[in-house]
Subunit: 320 residues, 2 copies
């Protein structure tokens, strides 16, 4: 049984509670805004690729978790760690590296550690819980007809890096450093989504951690709208390098994972405001599609090409 079926089963068990388990960030209404929480787990046997240090791994465990909070526009209050560690790994050096990685994330994202718990386990497991506060609740299901699809950063690099590290696939030299650092030291943008969400220009937001195809299909399904990609949210230099190396840029953009970039639905009339808000924060937005009336599905339909290609929900699913 894979991850998605497991989540469904848990949802079914809790159906009588009308538990809201559709987003991976939890909102609790409190005063004018929302207290927000998120948990995530990094597991050595499946989540730590070749060449990643323990310091990078523990930093990434925290960053992966707070990335979801950032894409909801939350201020970060703090994080907690539950560490499971095999006896053989529990050396002074390894624990120092793990601690330093936690500290790296704490310093970079200005988020204090609040506590945690340490256990023996057969696998190295770093479970992270992050808490914070958001003025507005923006979810995955809010995309409206006419909205523009916008990414907060380019896609494709992590798929390239992971394909190389896990599958021995070729890595164009010009993209080697950026694609490996996107895997080893992902750095979701700090204040960007908060600026956009507090500015009232975002109808839906989702952090892409299982790839763009999965992310768009989930937003499409929950919003009940058709989503049409008219271009790829990627850098021209990336597309050129892929083309020279005979790599399938569309596949890399769609089927990566762990990008830790937000996919946003922005009302068309507010796109210029969104772009200038981002520019003030020193960031660029990547508009790449539109939300249409129609059945919930994802299409790729660049100008001049027809018919459109349907993009299924293929991506990273645990326990396949």
């Amino acid at each position: 049984m894979n991850e998605l079926r497991i989540i469904d089963l848990i949802r079914e068990t809790f159906a009588s509670q009308k538990a809201d388990l559709l987003d991976d960030v939890s909102f609790i209404k409190r005063g004018e805004g929302y207290i927000v929480f998120k948990t995530d787990m990094l597991v050595k046997s499946t989540d730590i690729p070749r060449g990643m240090t323990l310091r990078q791994a523990s930093r990434k465990a925290v960053v992966a978790c707070l990335s979801d909070m950032l894409c909801k526009g939350a201020d970060l209050w703090g994080f907690m760690i539950s560490l499971g560690i095999p006896k053989l790994l529990a050396t002074e050096e390894n624990v120092t590296l793990l601690s330093l990685g936690l500290m790296d994330a704490s310093v970079q994202y200005e988020i204090p550690i609040l506590g945690g718990d340490v256990n023996e386990a057969d696998d190295l497991v770093i479970a992270v819980a992050v808490a914070g506060y958001a003025r507005r609740m923006v979810r995955r299901d809010g995309a409206k007809v006419g909205d523009r699809l916008v990414a907060t950063g380019p896609f494709g690099l992590t798929a390239l890096g992971l394909g190389h590290l896990l599958g021995g696939k070729p890595l164009p030299r010009s993209l080697a450093a950026s694609s490996l650092s996107s895997v080893y030291e992902p750095s979701p943008r700090k204040g960007l989504c908060k600026l956009l969400i507090d500015g009232g220009v975002v109808n839906a937001s989702m952090d892409s951690s299982d790839g763009l195809a999965m992310t768009l299909n989930e937003m499409s399904r929950q919003s009940g709208r058709e989503m049409v990609m008219t271009s790829l949210p990627a850098e021209p230099a990336f597309l050129r390098a892929c083309s020279s190396a005979g790599l399938d840029a569309l596949d890399l953009v769609l089927h990566g994972g762990e990008e830790y970039e937000a996919v946003l639905a922005v009302p068309e009339a507010k796109l210029p405001t969104a772009i200038s808000l981002a520019a003030e924060a020193g960031a660029r937005l990547y508009p790449f599609g539109i939300v249409r009336r129609g059945k919930a599905r994802v299409l790729y339909s660049p100008p001049g090409s027809s018919p459109a290609t349907e993009i299924p929900a293929d991506g990273w699913v645990h326990l396949q």
Copy 2:
């Protein structure tokens, strides 16, 4: 390197942040009160004894975590789960059992599930994060000279049950059911500590999860006071059964773990109020000692016996 040294190393790394990592519940001041958080992890290879079902295990994972919140007098807002599961264990039946256990805890403690995340791992790992709200902040370090030491329930049964399940030790028949259920289905009291803490009769509170000896030593160290046990927080029937069976009741009371009972420091003048508040809630308190001026240590000194015995911080420590 054991659990305590690992925690120290993480504390050292974060020393520059003056991170407050002395309690295992985190408090964030907000308005008149505090938002409180807690994470905890249950690991199959070390935390699930013989005979415990997966349903009991996932229930216990949640209960262990919220027990710490209850002993701080917190209202429970909700919990989140990070599940790591080996592929071979991820069957429909097992996941249903795990879900039902989460639901059992949710129903019994009236705490909704807020979300979570599912991963593949080499060990079954259930990491739980609980969030809530407390009107006052009561910590481990607040015990004052003259305070009475009070337990919210009797000690000894879990040590008896675990000793039997893990070490094949004898189990007196009259205590078999209660000691096994204390291991398989621990049930910390719901509103008791909240009533006492909101009632202003508690100076310090700590959940006993690693045994009474560990708990008292930690409270003594953090409060900088000597703690003297003058009796055992245990039921007379338990003491009689141990005596008949030739079991060392003192050892069982001191060196268990996972009792999920709070140890409180209550100002002597407020003890009658504490006892009547508890009685109104249908609960009993177990006064068993006093807090004295002196160096931070724990003594056992029942009336009529001398000299007092020093109780070292022996108990359950992971990764020994």
